[in-house]
């Protein structure tokens, strides 16, 4: 916009030379070449591990079909993504890499240690893929209310081995942050699936469990939005409106705030 001041990096006066040098140096700072693939391997591993854990709970057999439903990657998500990425770009499917990622996930710790010899040890960086993610309170039964993504390739999925149980336990015995996030996500996905399936009562119980277990969770906003949707689904419009207003006050910057407008009409 035209009234914006000139950026420091574009100023020509000699007075700010060091300022510009410092800014330029931080601007050049970017991820090392291997970082993107390393992180992807871990993410693909986590996603597959979560699916496997939820699938086991749902079907008792670790069935791939059951897990995909509990993952709540619904039609909305697909629509959202289509809006974000040009379709043409989405044609090339990265299943092979994803599959390789899971296969390598168990070795990620070693790989990372090797690729970053100069770094100080950081336990948080070690994110091995685990199929047996501790989701003991994960959905007992995830209703298949959310349609499975049509693009899922069964053959490719069947080829994904999960080297999960090889992950070393943390020394302090507490779940790693990503394990916690996985468990939190699984509970949230279960509650959402239950609500979508019309089982508001079970969804409410799952949400209560989620709240008790992760009072300050990463997905706290999503939990709150779901709670508001639940109230609306139960016909408690005034309560939903009250809570939606409180949400907008607490998280004015949240993209969810705009979405909650539809609950605000109630008295």
């Amino acid at each position: 916009m035209s009234q914006d001041p000139e950026r420091l990096l574009q100023l020509r006066s000699p007075g700010e030379q060091l300022e510009r040098e410092l800014l330029a140096s931080i601007k050049q700072d970017g991820p090392p070449a291997h970082a993107k693939d390393e992180a992807w391997l871990a993410i693909a591993g986590r996603v597959a591990a979560l699916g496997a854990a939820a699938g086991t709970a749902a079907a008792g057999t670790g069935s791939a079909a059951a897990s995909s439903a509990s993952f709540a990657w619904g039609a909305t998500a697909k629509a959202g993504l289509s809006a974000l990425v040009p379709k043409a770009l989405a044609i090339k499917i990265a299943w092979t890499l994803a599959a390789g990622g899971v296969a390598l996930g168990g070795y990620l710790t070693v790989q990372q240690a090797r690729s970053t010899p100069a770094r100080p040890p950081s336990p948080a960086v070690h994110v091995p893929a685990r199929a047996n993610t501790p989701v003991e309170s994960a959905p007992a039964a995830a209703p298949t209310a959310v349609p499975a993504a049509p693009s899922a390739t069964p053959a490719a999925e069947a080829n994904i081995p999960v080297r999960a149980s090889e992950a070393p336990p943390r020394r302090d015995g507490r779940p790693a942050p990503l394990d916690r996030l996985s468990a939190e996500s699984a509970l949230l996905a279960a509650a959402r699936a239950q609500l979508l399936a019309g089982d508001a009562r079970t969804a409410e119980a799952t949400l209560a469990r989620l709240r008790a277990r992760f009072p300050h969770g990463v997905l706290i906003q999503e939990r709150e939005v779901l709670a508001i949707e639940l109230l609306a689904a139960q016909g408690r419009a005034a309560a939903a409106a009250r809570r939606a207003r409180a949400f907008a006050r607490a998280y004015p910057q949240s993209p969810h705030s705009a979405k909650l407008n539809r609950f605000l009409d109630a008295p």
Binding site: D4, P5, R7, L8, L9, E16, L18, E19, E21, L22, S25, I26, G30, P31, A35, K36, A42, I43, V47, A48, A49, L50, A52, G62, S68, F71, T76, K78, G80, L81, S82, A90, I93, A94, A98, A99, V102, Q112, R119, S122, V125, S151, A152, E157, I160, P177, L178, L181, S182, S185, V218, L219, E222, V225, P252, Q253, S254, P255, H256, K259
Partner: protein, 190 residues
């Protein structure tokens, strides 16, 4: 079991560098940034069903980065202070040896990081988005849900603070120069 959807991979590919840079500039230490970036994308993956394309994807991802970085800082305040101190030490040691261009660039980046770490959070966000991500005032206002006037005033304050810190560190660097004339009668000159 399930692999991430291919579209998610496209989203990831297109925005990994953006997320990495944002996290670094929001105070996540280099050894931790990969882990935190994973957290951002996993969160994005799970939240995607609720993202309805009302905001730009960078705005949305930046919001997640902000939350993850803020959690990170809350959980690792001591580590962060150590990082800040280490970055300052690097800066002050910087001119004692004759560093290679690459080392020098790295030291500069650490110094800049240390200075960013000293800015108040609200100012830092505006400063990073304007000076480094080169967003316009209006785009920043939209991203942070504040007015353009507030963007301007925070930017002005951030620039003043940044400039002040740069001068302070320039002075420290000058003091640390090995060829600086030593005056034995005034050892404590600062």
């Amino acid at each position: 079991m399930r692999a991430p959807e291919p579209e998610f991979r496209v989203l990831y590919d297109a925005h990994f560098n953006f997320v990495w840079r944002c996290l670094r500039r929001l105070g996540v230490r280099e050894p931790d940034v990969l882990d935190q970036a994973q957290k951002v994308f996993l969160t994005a993956y799970f939240k995607l069903s609720e993202f309805e394309g009302r905001a730009r994807v960078t705005t949305w991802l930046f919001g997640i980065c902000q939350r993850v970085a803020s959690d990170y800082r809350r959980s690792a305040p001591i580590r962060r202070e150590i990082a800040t101190d280490a970055a300052e030490l690097d800066l002050q040691r910087g001119s004692q040896a004759a560093p290679s261009a690459q080392t020098e660039m790295r030291q500069q980046a650490h110094a800049a990081e240390a200075i960013l770490n000293k800015l108040p959070e609200a100012q830092r966000l505006v400063f990073v988005l304007f000076e480094l991500e080169e967003l316009s005032g209006e785009e920043i206002a939209e991203t942070l849900a504040i007015s353009v006037g507030t963007v301007r005033s925070r930017l002005r304050l951030a620039r003043e603070a940044f400039s002040r810190e740069v001068k302070r560190l320039a002075a420290a660097r000058e003091n640390a120069r090995p060829d600086r004339p030593v005056r034995p009668d005034r050892k404590e000159a600062v």
